[in-house]
């Protein structure tokens, strides 16, 4: 162990304290929100029929777990989300690559991409249902539509931002276009790929839940819509809590992947 001076020890202690304090306040904030929520419901400051309450959410979750439907609904949503996430990431990255390799096509298609990006994809809902039918297929298509345009645009700008000088360097070393692609463009835009994954975690959930609002027989989005219609806000809140946990978990997995690859 290295011996540190007194001032450095003090510095390290302050750093540690600051970190500790941040975490502490974070947890306290959560507890305060839950506590205040519970309190307002029990004191009837706000009608728990409308705002629900933490204890009612827990009760609802326990009920959902005991009749097995929580797993079913969570799994349906997770399955649809993962499908939309995977397909749109692959397709978007691929389309971006094609556009990168074909500058003429890129120039032609640029305004179309801009319009597609600006279009609220939910507007296509009725079309999707007519074209691919109701159920899982329509939901996954909605998820894909929401993710794919932003994936394509982000990856394309990632490919295009590879330094020109590095491309020249490859050329002076006699690299073929394919070698430039696989040894430079793709590895260099890996950080963009990770950030696309991070964006898509959120976007694919948006797409899936929106799809489930449109047409579904199961899933967390279904629970939310159903709960809203029959005024069971406990159910709505429970589904949202589960959704929060699932999205966080998926984001954490992507962050873990990033760490693993960076260390390699």
């Amino acid at each position: 162990m290295k011996k540190y001076s007194l001032s450095h020890k003090r510095y390290l202690r302050n750093l540690y304290l600051k970190d500790f304090f941040t975490h502490l306040v974070r947890v306290l904030l959560l507890l305060a929100i839950i506590g205040l929520w519970e309190l307002s419901a029990s004191k009837n400051w706000a009608d728990p029929f409308i705002t629900s309450s933490p204890s009612r959410v827990v009760k609802q979750l326990v009920a959902l777990i005991s009749n097995g439907s929580l797993w079913h609904h969570s799994w349906v949503t997770l399955y649809e989300t993962l499908l939309a996430f995977g397909i749109s990431t692959l397709l978007g990255t691929g389309v971006a690559l094609i556009l990168y390799l074909l500058p003429f096509m890129r120039r032609v298609l640029e305004p179309y991409l801009i319009v597609l990006n600006a279009l609220p994809k939910i507007a296509l809902g009725p079309l999707i249902i007519v074209w691919v039918g109701t159920g899982t297929k329509a939901i996954v298509v909605m998820g894909i539509l929401i993710c794919i345009v932003i994936t394509t645009i982000s990856m394309l700008s990632g490919y295009l931002s590879v330094e020109k000088e590095k491309i020249l360097l490859m050329k002076t070393m006699g690299a073929s276009p394919l070698q430039i692609l696989f040894r430079l463009i793709i590895p260099a835009s890996f950080p963009d790929f990770i950030s696309v994954l991070k964006i898509n975690v959120g976007m694919s959930f948006v797409g899936t839940i929106m799809g489930e609002y449109l047409t579904s027989k199961a899933g967390l989005g279904y629970l939310i819509v159903y709960g809203g219609q029959v005024f069971k806000l406990d159910l709505v809140m429970s589904a949202i809590v589960v959704l929060c946990l699932m999205a966080t978990l998926m984001y954490a997995l992507v962050a873990l992947l990033e760490k693993c690859v960076k260390r390699r």
């Binding site: 000088e165 360097l169 070393m173 006699g174 590895p187 260099a188």
Partner: protein, 251 residues
């Protein structure tokens, strides 16, 4: 001695939607084997353009470039190019960066690997073989970039302001390093720089260009003891004499 590089009546016109720009006009000079030629000139006079043309990544509007009596039409492995920035690939370790060119040419033979390893060893980078570029200092990174170029055994090295991204102290040290590496590997070099001192410290000959369109204004042979390092050249009286001459030409 025979000319390694001959440039004859080179012209280059750049086109843009609003105008055309004549970058080079009637450019003629030659470089002999073992020489270290620097090109200096006012900014925008097409210095870097000349290197791109020699490297074969740009085609001249007219005129020709001969390298070892062959006309240059596309990039060749006889020429190695060093840029202002080291352009190391951050996702590859030093060894993989150094052998990148060999991999591209699919010539990562044992002999070439041995050569790469010997270069790393000779220039004090062997222990960093498995380090990532981000762990190295700016000067070390530029040396790695030079070794990456040397691994392909080019006859002619093109140096495009390779020291200008370094801080002043490092720059003087790396100039000495690069100069001794080039000397001991018996390479021919063409250096483009806006730093007149650097040109005088490193070269055997200096080509002074006019402002755009760039053409040769004067070629100055430098008379220094070949054993002198760039740093030690700076201490001599004639160093300043050369500087005044070039400075005058550029005004």
């Amino acid at each position: 001695m025979e000319n390694l590089l001959t440039i004859n009546n080179l012209q280059l016109i750049y086109h843009s939607p609003k105008s055309e720009t004549q970058a080079l006009k009637d450019l003629t000079f030659s470089v002999q084997e073992g020489e270290f030629v620097s090109i200096v000139g006012p900014s925008g006079c097409g210095k870097t353009t000349i290197l791109s043309l020699i490297a074969g990544i740009l085609r001249p509007t007219s005129g020709e470039i001969l390298l070892a009596n062959e006309k240059i039409e596309k990039p060749t492995s006889l020429v190695g190019y060093m840029f202002q920035r080291d352009n190391l690939f951050e996702w590859l370790n030093i060894w993989k960066n150094v052998t990148l060119g060999l991999r591209l040419k699919k010539s990562l033979t044992n002999e070439n690997k041995e050569y790469a390893r010997s270069l790393l060893k000779k220039y004090g980078l062997e222990e960093f073989s498995s380090s990532m570029p981000s762990e190295l200092s700016g000067g070390m990174r530029q040396r790695v970039a030079l070794i990456r170029t040397l691994c392909l055994r080019p006859k002619l090295l093109l140096l495009d302001e390779p020291f200008s991204a370094l801080d002043y102290q490092t720059r003087l040290l790396v100039q000495d390093d690069v100069s001794s590496i080039i000397k001991s590997e018996k390479k021919t070099a063409v250096l483009v720089t806006h730093d007149i001192y650097e040109a005088i410290a490193m070269s055997t000959r200096i080509v002074v260009l006019s402002s755009r369109p760039g053409t040769v204004k004067k070629i100055i042979d430098l008379d220094f003891d070949p054993a002198l390092t760039p740093f030690n050249r700076r201490k001599l009286k004639k160093f300043n004499k050369y500087f005044d001459e070039i400075w005058g030409l550029l005004q």
